[in-house]
Symmetry: C3
Subunit: 373 residues, 3 copies
């Protein structure tokens, strides 16, 4: 299939046609030479006729697009892909077609990441620093002159915003909050009073940092609110997903360790601590005072009880319910969560329950029948 | 029980007393004739004394209220209901009391929908077009003159808003976004840069369209963000629930097919595609690059792994965890999800485990005891 | 370990070092006498040298800090804690060290709650009433003169705000909404048209009250929206967590009973009713028209089907899926949810499945082998 810009539904899926390249927006154009220069270890096989002008998956790519094989699951799509350039792992077996180039590298995903970063800089050009006239900034707040505060943001008493930080629009920064440098707080995020945010932190839209922890004393069936006078600390390079909520501590801190990445709609309760570089996937819930080590990975929709201790490098599968503490390196799954091997054996045996039942019945019929002594 | 407006706790539950009919708010008043004219197939049994002035469930209704039997589960409530008018299916067996009318129709729920639509138009009268002076609209943005942009909305560079679209308040529309005609973007919604929204789309409050997908390359335990340079496309007649999040694609698109309705607090990851007219109930999570066919139904809190393909008309029960692709028409349940029949047999047998254990023990005691050769 | 303010990483965790006591922020300082006066039943053992100047957990506390034993799980930490003052239950066995005081009381958690309330009043001093000039308040709205309406709030037509209510910033209050007295609506919350909020209600940031219920009539595979013309009523002393969503009724009401506390990211569907003083933990989902009695407790991430009736005092464990109605006082767990005893037996037996299988095989090998008649 050849690209015909005037009438081609497939074109609709390539970046060039995503409104990203239309009209005055960004023009994508990379020569083969520019692509090869991305990483030292790239080896070229074949050649292309023109510049690359779009990026697409192996299946959706048309002539002129760049594609890549990141997940071996899609290896079969390489052969039939119409992409002009394909990034491939070193061990992929196959040859480029005419007018097509294969670029082999140890890690195609990493090379693509570098490329999309270049693209990102075109799509989101740097914003001029300054405070939008509609923003409301308290006299006692301190905003670095190199930062941008967008429309309808609110920065309260004694708050501080570091250098080169970007507040998109409608962002609320409460009293005595400290936000570091090079942060990105996207539209409609909330950071409540006294919280502290390190450098290079990203808050996706709608997330809430420093909501009250869920704590009550019950007297005669009525629940009396326990004031939550602690705060939230997000260390450097943390990312928080859209509409995720992180509660302030009852006292002391809820703390997210440097480099930890949290997906959308996650709930982090009061006094939780995470270590460095954890990955917490969407819709996970972590109950109060649970402590995670470094490099813990938690799959989507998993839930963790409160007051647990989870060791370094633990992996908790999506949808699991963790009810007990774990040592470093454990891999668990299920609800309640078991070591992964136990879990898998249990699932297999559960599926075989109808068979067991039948075999048990057979034995009974032979040996427990009235005819049998 | 007769309605006494001055002192009647039950009145508190009827629409008329919901602040909807109080003071200067909407007056509900339908004659029997007006109700009969809603649908051609309505057959009247009985008569009423006055106009209908409220709508309530069968149990809560008082004299003067209209009610209906939508779910057969509540059939027993018809006889004892004090509603003046009741919409009933054709096959309901029973007779209206004096001063009461039964209106029979093939689909009472549908008739009620038409009626509430009339009511809706009274409760939410059309808003005059225009841009509120507190809204911040970039010079290069293009807002149709027939649309309404409410207080504190922000419309960035090169964004376009189609005809008769309603932006309630505090709505953020990012750079190069295109919003179609006849859309409703409710308070505090966010649409990030480059996303595209079709016609007649509804975004409930707090939802986020176009947050960054969750993608990192890990090097030496550190997670390096992969720029997410794609976008989100919502086709015509899509509805997105409150605080739901839909991530922009890594590249290319995350796309929600026309007529698909998404409930609250749902997470749709990057590069997911849904077909036409899917129903995705609250708190569902769909992982990256999974593709749904048309008319797929996903029950509340279900989770889908990434890179799956789900055929047309598939039904996934609430709370399920789908780990594999499904063919058209499959019905699954459980965590992990099994075909519904297998699932139900397994649940039954799980409940019988104590009994199995006992029977196994009985056999052992007889045949494996030392007395037995 | 002694506190050395100049160089001590541990200090970083005590309240005094949380930015709460730094610079111009709050100074914590309680004498032993002030602490003893909190509750009549406090008995002192030991004495301290100086004022208490921080609050920390038993493990993190340093000299000068106050701590407490709330959860017996941490009893072993009392002995080794460096806290200067520790609140303890009456039955704790042990003696204070020199320069340390034990304060015994029937309920240490409750005493701490009183103390933190005092602290809270310092951290969040009362705000002067008034309407921020950037707020947009409709001419027909009625805001009590003792209330505070913060920056960028929007209060629409005919809305009413009671006395001493606090709207932090970016709060949206729709048409005909009524908000009671002494409420706290935190940043970026949304209350849609016609909803009613009682006295002393707290809405955490980002929550949405009165989004449309999820209701469609399907005709030929297309889903036609059923207008949701009811409203939401939050009775007195309700608290709603961050980014939680509560849908308006199809008609009539969605109603949250007085004193009910809802955590973050919870979904309450249309026409749900909760009784008094329920506790609904994070990420719970309650489907349409389900009715809860009083003092129902629902653990995190549990899901409830629609049209159920749940009796007073029911307890549903976290992660459960409730598919049937429950009588008062029932305690259930699992997915689907079973009575807690049945559930626990089932989990134990599931773990023993490999053993059962082996035992069954042994019987078969002996009695079903060809050698056996």
């Amino acid at each position: 299939m050849r690209r015909d810009p005037s009438n081609d539904t497939k074109v609709h899926n390539s970046v060039i046609a995503q409104g990203l390249g239309r009209g005055n927006a960004v023009e994508i154009s990379f020569t083969l030479q520019e692509l090869v220069e991305i990483s030292e270890d790239i080896k070229v096989e074949g050649d292309i006729n023109n510049c690359v002008t779009g990026i697409a998956s192996l299946k959706d790519a048309v002539g002129g697009d760049l594609s890549f094989l990141g997940n071996p699951k899609y290896a079969a799509d390489v052969k039939t892909s119409e992409a002009s350039v394909i990034f491939l792992p070193l061990d992929y077996v196959g040859k480029a077609k005419e007018g097509q180039a294969y670029l082999r590298t140890a890690n195609p995903s990493r090379v693509l990441a570098i490329l999309t970063l270049k693209l990102e800089r075109k799509l989101w050009p740097e914003v001029d620093p300054g405070i939008h006239p509609s923003a409301v900034v308290h006299d006692s707040a301190n905003v670095d002159a190199t930062s941008y505060v967008g429309p309808h943001c609110v920065i309260e008493e004694e708050a501080m915003i570091g250098a080169k930080t970007f507040l998109q629009a409608g962002v609320y920064v409460g009293r005595h909050v400290r936000v570091g440098g090079c942060c990105r707080l996207l539209a409609n995020t909330t950071v409540q009073d006294y919280c502290e945010i390190g450098d290079a932190v990203i808050l996706q839209s709608g997330c809430v940092i420093g909501s009250d922890g869920y704590g009550y004393e019950t007297e005669n069936g009525c629940h009396i609110k326990i004031p939550q006078v602690g705060r939230v600390v997000l260390e450097d390079h943390v990312e928080v997903g859209a509409n995720t909520t992180i509660d302030r501590a009852r006292f002391q801190e809820t703390r997210i360790g440097a480099g930890t990445k949290i997906d959308n709609l996650v709930q982090i309760a009061h006094n939780v601590h995470t270590g460095l570089n954890c990955l917490i996937v969407a819709q996970v819930g972590i109950s109060g005072s649970t402590v995670l080590g470094n490099n813990v990975v938690i799959g989507g929709q998993a839930g963790l009880s409160g007051h647990l201790s989870v060791g370094d490098g633990v992996s908790i599968a999506g949808g699991s319910a963790l009810l007990r503490s774990l040592n470093a390196g454990e891999v668990v799954r299920g609800s309640p969560a078991f070591p992964i091997n136990d879990y898998q054996r249990m699932v297999v045996l559960q599926k075989r329950l109808p068979e067991f039942y039948k075999r048990l019945k057979t034995l009974e019929q032979i040996y427990l029948s009235p005819d049998n002594p």
